[in-house]
Every structure is written in C-alpha cells, then in structure tokens.
C-alpha cells in the first residue's frame, strides 16, 4: 500500500502537470511576446543596471567595479543631485494635486448629463494624447516667451509687461507644471467613471434632507470617490517623479536656464548619455526606484485612514 502510494502519486502528479502544461500552452504562447519582452527588455536590463551602479562604465570600454563609490559621491559630493531633487520634488508637489483637482472639477462638470458629452470628453482628452512632443515645446515657447501670447494678453488686459516665463529661471518650472495640469485627460476619464458609480438616489435623499451641493460633495461624492482618488494619486505621483520629456524638449536637454528645469530623470540622462557615465547614472536610477517605492508604500500604508471602500 505504502509503495503503491509512493509510486502512484508522483506519476499522477507528473501526468497532471503535463496535462496542465498542455492546457496552458496556447496561453503561454499568446503571452510569449510580452514575456520575452519583459524578461529581455525590462527585467534583464534592470538587473544589469543594479550591477552597473557599482561600476565605472563609459559605454565604450568595459565596466570597472568601484564598489559603493557612486552612491558615496551622490550622497556627499554631488551638488547637481540635490538641485535635481529639489526641482523634481517641487514639480511633484505642485503638479499632482493641481492636476487631480482640475481633472476632478472637469469630470464633475461633464457628469451633469450635458448633451454632446462624448465630444467634450474627447476634446478634453486630446492634450494627453499629444503628450510631450516637439510641437508642444514650440507651442509652449510661443505661449510663454517674452513676446508670447500670455504676455500679450496680460498687456492687453492689465497693461502688465510680463517676463519670458519659459526662459526665466524663476518661472520656467511653473510653465512645466501648467503643461502637466493641461494634460489632465487620463485622471479625468477615471474620475468620470468613478462618479458614474455613485448611486443617484444618495443625492436625492441628501437633497430631501436639505444638504446643499457643497455639503453633498464633501459628504457623498468625495468619500465615495476616495478609491479612485487614491488610484489616480498613486499613478500620477509615479508619473510625476518619472517626468522627463517635458523638460527635455522645452530646455533641449540642458535643464536650463540655470538648472531650473533639471528634473532628476534629465540629470540621469545627461550623466548617462551626454557625459558617458553609465555606472553613475545607474546608481542615480536606483535611488529613484527607492524613492518611488517609498512613496508608493507610504500611500498604501496610509490609505486605510482615508480611503473608503463600499464593502
């Protein structure tokens, strides 16, 4: 009996495994392109970059092991690292809340059951589709340069002579924050879907009880929307930390004027590809990974105090 069990079970297990593999093979085959891409183009380079971050590597020669020297320099002797940190955090702190607020306001306006909703939704989503392109860089320069449209409007309306917003180190970053807010399409669509989920009878009951629109917003809409707010906040924060193209195209890769738009990712890119310090850039990249992981974990840990789920 004991031997019978001993041999029968593994056999059966093997057959079952083969059967399961056979059943799942088409699935794996469909998955293969993505899986190959993930393993070769994402996981592989990620692991290699961790190793590279402990080396001196100029892309052309061979990597030379230097231990923690890159990390030590970043922490102790790299002025530009702190400049880029400051720029990036300021950007995240400003862009994320403003963008989410704006997206929510537009979503609520669109949720009023107005006619032609799909058209409006498409129009409002358009800036997000344009992304960060050279056309946007040109548009932004024409809007916010010294003789740009914004200053012409200011002069016409108030007789004010504004500075060249996009090329003045005191204001350049804010024009990029505005660019980010302008691309509010994807959080808006998600907010809109969330708003649709809120049962209308709640509002009807609240109106009967005498609650005004403001009270309804803070007592019904916002609490019921917190899961969506949470999702949008996490996604947008990660996006903002990773922001690269807007600064790259508006400052043509320099982070100027006077490093005022030197995003962390832009600095990383410069170190890697302009100054050929791939090892150092890899160390910078891993610090960014840790920072983003920290903020994401922080969001999830605090979520239980302010995110309300129905169940």
């Amino acid at each position: 009996m004991a031997t019978a069990v001993g041999t029968a079970v593994p056999l059966e297990r093997g057959v079952r495994r083969r059967l399961a593999l056979g059943r799942n093979l088409p699935g794996y085959m469909f998955l293969a392109p993505w899986l190959a891409g993930f393993l070769l183009l994402t996981l592989g380079p990620t692991v290699v970059s961790l190793w590279l971050s402990f080396t001196n590597f100029d892309l052309i020669g061979d990597p030379r092991w230097v231990g923690a020297a890159n990390y030590v320099r970043i922490a102790t002797a790299d002025e530009k690292f702190w400049t880029s940190m400051k720029v990036t955090f300021l950007y995240v702190v400003l862009a994320v809340p403003f963008k989410l607020t704006f997206a929510l306001l537009v979503a609520m306006a669109l949720n009023k059951g107005i006619s032609g909703l799909t058209v409006y939704r498409a129009i409002f989503y358009l800036p997000s589709l344009l992304g960060a392109s050279v056309a946007i860089a040109v548009l932004w320069r024409n809007l916010f340069a010294g003789d740009g449209l914004v200053n012409q409007l200011l002069f016409w309306a108030f007789g004010l002579k504004g500075p060249s917003w996009v090329s003045d180190p005191d204001y350049a970053l804010y024009t990029l924050v505005i660019l980010s807010i302008w691309q509010f399409g994807s959080p808006m669509i998600i907010f809109l879907a969330g708003l649709r989920q809120i049962p209308q009878d709640m509002y009807e009951a609240a109106s009967l009880d005498g609650a005004g629109p403001t009270r309804q917003f803070f007592k019904i809409t916002l609490p019921l929307l917190t899961p969506v707010v949470f999702f949008n906040a996490v996604v947008q924060t990660i996006e903002a930390f990773k922001a690269f193209t807007p600064a790259f195209i508006v400052s043509e890769g320099t982070g100027g004027p006077v490093d005022s738009t030197l995003f962390y990712t832009l600095y990383l890119y410069q170190e890697a590809f302009a100054f050929l310090r791939m090892g150092y850039a890899s160390a910078l990249a891993w610090i960014l990974v840790v920072i983003i992981a920290f903020f994401t974990a922080f969001s999830f840990l605090t979520a239980k105090y302010w995110v309300h789920y129905d169940d």
């Binding site: 100029d58 052309i60 090329s167 003045d168 320099t254 004027p257 590809f273 302009a274």
Partner: protein, 429 residues
C-alpha cells in the same frame, strides 16, 4: 489534446516557414555589400548626403548604403549606445572633440592600411591629414575645413546709419557699436548682438587672443579664475548696455540655427561656424555678411584657427571596411561626390576637390571659401583635442553665464566658481 497537437504543428510550420524566409532573404543579400552611414546635421546636409550615396551606388551596383541622420544633440547618445553594442555604422561622422575618445577605446578602425589605395588623400597636406590622427594612427578623414565666424545682418546696421562690424574690430568697439545699434534701431526687443558669453567657441577664441586657451596639451584647464571673471563681466556689461540680448531672450537659444536670436529677428549679429553661413542665410530674409570674431586689439594673438568641421571614420566592427574607405574617398576626392557635397561640410581639404567645387559655387559658397582664404594668415594653430569632461564644461559655461545674466551671481563670483567646477570636472574625468 487534439487541439493542442494542431496548435503545435501549426506553430512548427509557422516557425519553419519563417526560417525559410529568413534564409532566402539572406541568400539574396549575399551578393551585395550593405553598409550603414550615420551623420548629424541639417536637412540640407541630409539631401546632399543621400544624393552623393545615390551617385556612388549608381556606379557600384553591388553596394547598398543605408543612411541615418540625427541632430547634433541626439547624435552622440546614439553613437555611444551603438559603440557599447559594438554596432556602429560602417561610415560615421566624427567630431574633433570625440575622435580621441572613440579611437583610444578601440571603437574605430585605423585607416593607414587604406592610404594610397582606397584612400587617395595625400594631396590634403600634412595639417589636414594629421587632424584625423590619434597617437600616430589615422582614424578620421577630414570632410572640410571651417573656422568660427561672425554673421552680421548688414542692412540692420545700415538702416540705422551705422557701419556694420567687420573683420579687425575689437571687442570694445564691437560692444559700443552694438549698443548704438540697439538705441538707433528703436525696435522693441531688437538688440545689436546675441549674448555669446555662454558659447564655448567664443570663450576659446577670446582666451587664445589673450595668449591662453581652454585646455593645455596635457588636457588641463588653461585659464584662470580671473580670466573667467573678466569674460563674464564683459558680457554682463554688454547686457546692461543693451548691446546684446537680455538673459531671458538668450535662454531661448537652443544653440542651433533655428532658435538663434539672429534668426528670430532679435539681434543683428550671431556667432557661429563658417560652414553654417548656408544654413543661416536659408532662414534669414536679410543678406548676411561673414567676418572674423572681434579681437582684443593691439598686442592680441590670433584667436581663431582652422579645424576639420567634421571627419568620416570607419567602425572597428565594420565588415566592409575597404568599401567604406572607397565611399569616403568618393566624398573627398571624386569630382561627382565632391560636387554633390559642395561646401556644406566645410571647404574641402584637397586642392583638386576645391577646384571642382569652385567651378559651380553660388554667391554664398564663394563668400565662405573666400572667408577661409582670407583668414588663413590671421589664425593660430589647431589646439590639442579637448580632454574628457570638456563637453560637460561647455554645458557649465552656458549655465554660469545665465547665472550672471539673471543676477544670481556676480561676474567675479561666477568666474571663481566656473574655474573651480571646471577643475573638478577634469579631475573626475
């Protein structure tokens, strides 16, 4: 189970036919030589390069040349990644700044073996050949000589009743003249000159006029903190006198032809390279004059020099190196190739090629060739190639000049900081 077997068989059949396809296309390719060529530059350059390649392949039917082109800023990251992947184009455009780095790390092929055979460039003369040598071996073929140049919108000066700045003017006179133009033109947002305090070639020329330079032959910083303080102060004074554009206008200049204050109609003078005259004139409605940079006056040394505007190199990993050398030779020596390229990459180093292009030069081309001829007795020797970190220092110069321009630092502070930072960058390598 049967479903699975069909899937497997289908997959096998699919894989088989894909392999057959790959094989047959391989066979078709076997007879022809396929080469890649990679360069940076404007559309004008791309048009001329594709034309030259077409002429070459028309004559050599078994050769195919795949051209790729990018702007200067995007070009170098791509070359670096391709070098890392041992996947450089067979023929690639090199700059004097980078040829040492790539040659010394074994990314480029020594070309001495082709001299006198595929490469018939002995008539270049020693200086124009040696500028492509690294540690005694030839790694780059000079595609044309150029020098820095001052481009002037003459009619803007004439309209204001002033004489435009010409070769021989010194920096003091230049600055006063530009200030007068701004005043006389009375156009809102229009100034005498661009602000070139953040441009490396301008600084280098000025330092050489003072008997110094950017870097010594040993690759060390060759200027002092005081030099830099004076440099930043000179441009700060020009900004304050409205002789050049203010900092927030200059910051919109992405150091290319399209965004230069001269092109945008915000200044009457741009500092550029002689071969860019064609590009600048193409986007400027007013006729541009080409002159030398201002000098420091009596007792000054020659600041400018002739340099290879760019070189062609062959990748160490090239499988068709001999064919690549023949293509390069077509660009610099063959009358057909030379004509197609013209003087857009600079004035050809070979006298024979110069005669070929001279025959059908337009007015602009003539102005450029005359300029190179005119300056030849007013220039100094080619400096040693810049050390590692020079590219980063060029970034730093732009940033530091902006700091002074936006009032974040005084010229003297900026001079000290720039000098110290440059030393640190060189030390780091």
């Amino acid at each position: 189970m049967s479903e699975i077997r069909i899937t497997r068989r289908a997959a096998l059949a699919g894989a088989g036919s894909a392999a057959m396809l790959a094989l047959s296309s391989r066979l078709a390719l076997a007879q022809e030589k396929r080469l890649r060529m990679f360069w940076w530059g404007s559309k004008e350059r791309a048009d001329r390069t594709y034309k030259a390649n077409e002429l070459y392949t028309a004559r050599n039917a078994s050769t195919k040349i795949d051209g790729e082109t990018l702007g200067w800023t995007d070009y170098w990251p791509r070359v670096a990644t391709q070098a890392a992947g041992r996947n450089l184009a067979d023929v690639l455009q090199m700059d004097y700044r980078y040829i040492f780095e790539y040659a010394r790390r074994g990314a480029l092929m020594p070309l001495d073996q082709f001299m006198g055979k595929a490469l018939d460039i002995a008539d270049f003369g020693a200086p124009s050949i040696d500028c492509g040598k690294v540690d005694g071996k030839l790694y780059g073929i000079n595609l044309g000589n150029n020098s820095v140049a001052m481009l002037t919108n003459v009619s803007a000066f004439e309209a204001a009743g002033l004489k435009a700045p010409k070769t021989g003017i010194d920096w003091k006179e230049f600055s006063a003249l530009c200030g007068e133009l701004t005043k006389a033109a009375k156009k809102d947002g229009f100034y005498g000159s661009m602000d070139a305090g953040g441009l490396e070639p301008n600084l280098e020329t000025w330092l050489r006029q003072r008997g110094k330079g950017l870097y010594s032959d040993e690759g060390q910083v060759a200027f002092s903190a005081d030099d830099m303080g004076e440099w930043f102060a000179m441009w700060d004074a020009m900004r304050k006198a409205k002789a050049c554009v203010p900092a927030d206008v200059q910051a919109l200049d992405k150091q290319n032809i399209e965004t230069n204050p001269l092109t945008l109609g915000k200044a009457a003078v741009a500092f550029a390279h002689s071969n860019q005259l064609v590009g600048y004139q193409a986007v400027n409605p007013n006729k541009l004059a080409i002159d030398m940079y201002p000098t420091i006056g009596a007792g000054g040394k020659p600041g400018q020099y002739l340099k290879p505007s760019m070189l062609f190199s062959i990748a160490a990993n090239s499988k068709n190196a001999e064919e690549a050398a023949k293509i390069i030779n077509f660009y610099v020596k063959d009358p057909e190739g030379v004509k197609a390229v013209g003087v857009e990459r600079g004035v050809p180093a070979s006298p024979a090629a110069r005669n070929v292009v001279a025959a059908d030069l337009d007015e602009l081309g003539k102005a450029m060739v005359n300029y190179i001829g005119m300056i030849s007795d007013k220039i100094g020797p080619l400096p040693a190639p810049p050390p590692k970190g020079a590219g980063e220092i060029a970034f730093l110069l732009k940033k530091t000049n902006e700091e002074v321009g936006f009032g974040k630092a005084t010229a003297a502070e900026a001079g000290k900081k720039f000098h110290a930072d440059a030393l640190a960058i060189i030390a780091r390598g």
